[in-house]
Symmetry: C2
Subunit: 335 residues, 2 copies
């Protein structure tokens, strides 16, 4: 029996989820749901497109609804709303607001005996898992997260809003010296500027003041002011040819120790250093994120089938629930 | 309230577990249990040493028993035996026998309403988790495991059993070209010989035939015959000065794709490659393995407290159960 999936929102992430559902033999895609006029939404898989209002009456058709909205305004409203009707999953990533979002989704999901997984993807998501596993195994160590080299859509959008800018792509790039220092187990203190640089490719409108655009970018608070930022002006053709993808990735590096304890005889055990690194090199950020969401959608369905409900994060979900294979199979082939 | 831990077996791994318990604020070490005469076992922490037979009557004193024995003969007998009395955890790593061991521990643990976690550590253990997460997120990809550079105790022991050998240390070393090919996402087919080399440091007895020792090593079936093996003869002093540690580590590298599907309009989506890598660089293999066992001992206790029982592996255990922190704390600091 297949797990019936609905997708709410059809941007880059929604298309990534669609591809991942198509690649999952134990899942069926029921439909794409949009706030737009369904007639204007062309979906890759050819699955039926519904207006979002149809979700009010399709509870028996969908096992898990994957909500592909933005964290700023969409998800805080949508995820609790639909957790009252469906098992849901989202990729909410506004870190400071996670406690409130978790509480809202928890109350909604519990009232309907549904599962609501929040903040799923790779960061938050797979990176979070690796921070938790490392801290749990080696208490007292230090974790570092590096992002990139990859396209930040938020930073690219921020540049596009500057007067005179036609198009822009911003790459976040980890500083190699910082990566090396962390990997060596030195546990350095690193400022924002020392960890990442930002590289921007900008298409300017004809006659625009490039010097002013550059200055507007590099001094933009929160987005660029704390970083060493380089701006390159390129043509529309170059943008299309060389920057149409959405690659991303990064590393979580954890450095901790064992030993160093005082023994009963008064001696001190030698300190041993351990470095744990998890890294991703992704050709497509939204397709990988969509793949993570779909694996966790499987878990949401199974947890709900076994009687569980409420808000969950990747921390609360046993890894075996993500796999379409049986316990015997995963023990035989992956343990 | 602290979790009360017992350690059965006091070799390198038992000492590693002891250090990890000492570093865990929510745990107390109740005792070390040994088949040897307790008077002859000196433990670092100064905790009381009991003869193993004392375990028959200490069920109310210990929440989780960490079993530090060998996979060949100790664990197949010990883990099911003590799962009838305690929540237990072991590091069973004889891959072909995992199904039988799992079934035996499952039956014993269920009969006593206890939890029995098997095959925990880093491989099997943390490496297994990363194989499972990667396969679940990107179905149809390929995983590669590289070990080292690190000391293989099994291979070192095998050399020590050769006539004329006083002491030996064997390092498993991944082949850099193989690592590079896998990291690039090429999904190469690699033979045993192409993945790892073996480097042996041997102290020969006086007058021993070094040529014969070398030949006995490099032709030894299962252990060395399928590898390119290098043998160095060194002095006892060099062995002590340069090879007294037990470093290890390695990488699980997974390469998979998204896209490539045929769309409703007959077009084919572009294929995107993704590479996931988890790597460990450990100064002390037994201390890191002990730390993993102790984090999972915490989970064993909690799962049993919540009414669960039977055999488990790392696949069955929600990550949050490993951390001494609350759900709120881990969501705030690690998500």
């Amino acid at each position: 029996m297949s797990i019936k999936i609905g997708i709410l929102g059809y941007g880059n992430l929604g298309r990534g989820v669609e591809k991942a559902v198509m690649a999952s033999e134990d899942m069926d895609l029921v439909g794409v749901f949009s706030r737009r006029d369904p007639a204007t939404v062309k979906v890759d898989s050819g699955v039926k497109v519904y207006h979002v209002d149809a979700l009010e009456t399709m509870t028996s058709d969908i096992d898990v609804l994957v909500i592909c909205g933005g964290s700023a305004t969409d998800l805080p409203e949508m995820t609790p709303k639909y957790a009252k009707l469906y098992n849901v999953i989202d990729s909410f990533d506004t870190h400071a607001n996670i406690p409130v979002h978790f509480a809202n989704v928890d109350a909604a999901a519990k009232s309907a005996n549904k599962i609501g997984i929040i903040s799923c993807g790779w960061d938050p998501g797979m990176f979070s898992l690796n921070r938790l596993y490392a801290h749990s195994v080696l208490p007292g160590g230090k974790d570092y997260t590096f992002w990139g080299r990859g396209v930040s859509q938020g930073h690219s959008d921020a540049i596009r809003r500057i007067d005179g800018v036609l198009d822009a792509r911003q790459y976040t790039v980890p500083v190699p010296q910082a990566l090396d220092a962390v990997r060596s187990g030195q546990n350095p203190e690193l400022t924002t500027r020392e960890k990442h640089t930002r590289v921007c490719y900008v298409v300017a409108k004809e006659g625009a003041d490039k010097e002013k655009i550059t200055n507007d970018i590099v001094t933009m608070p929160n987005y660029f002011a704390d970083y060493d930022t380089t701006v390159y002006f390129i043509s529309e053709d170059e943008m299309k040819a060389e920057h149409s993808g959405l690659p991303h990735g990064g590393s979580v590096i954890y450095s901790g120790t064992t030993g160093g304890n005082t023994n009963a005889d008064g001696s001190t055990s030698p300190v041993n250093n351990h470095v744990i690194e998890y890294s991703l090199k992704l050709d497509s950020n939204p397709e990988f994120t969509g793949s993570v969401l779909v694996a966790y959608a499987r878990a949401a369905y199974r947890m709900n089938q076994s009687g569980d409900c409420g808000a969950k994060t990747v921390f609360d979900i046993a890894p075996a629930l993500l796999s379409p294979l049986s316990g015997e199979d995963i023990r035989a082939h992956m343990l």
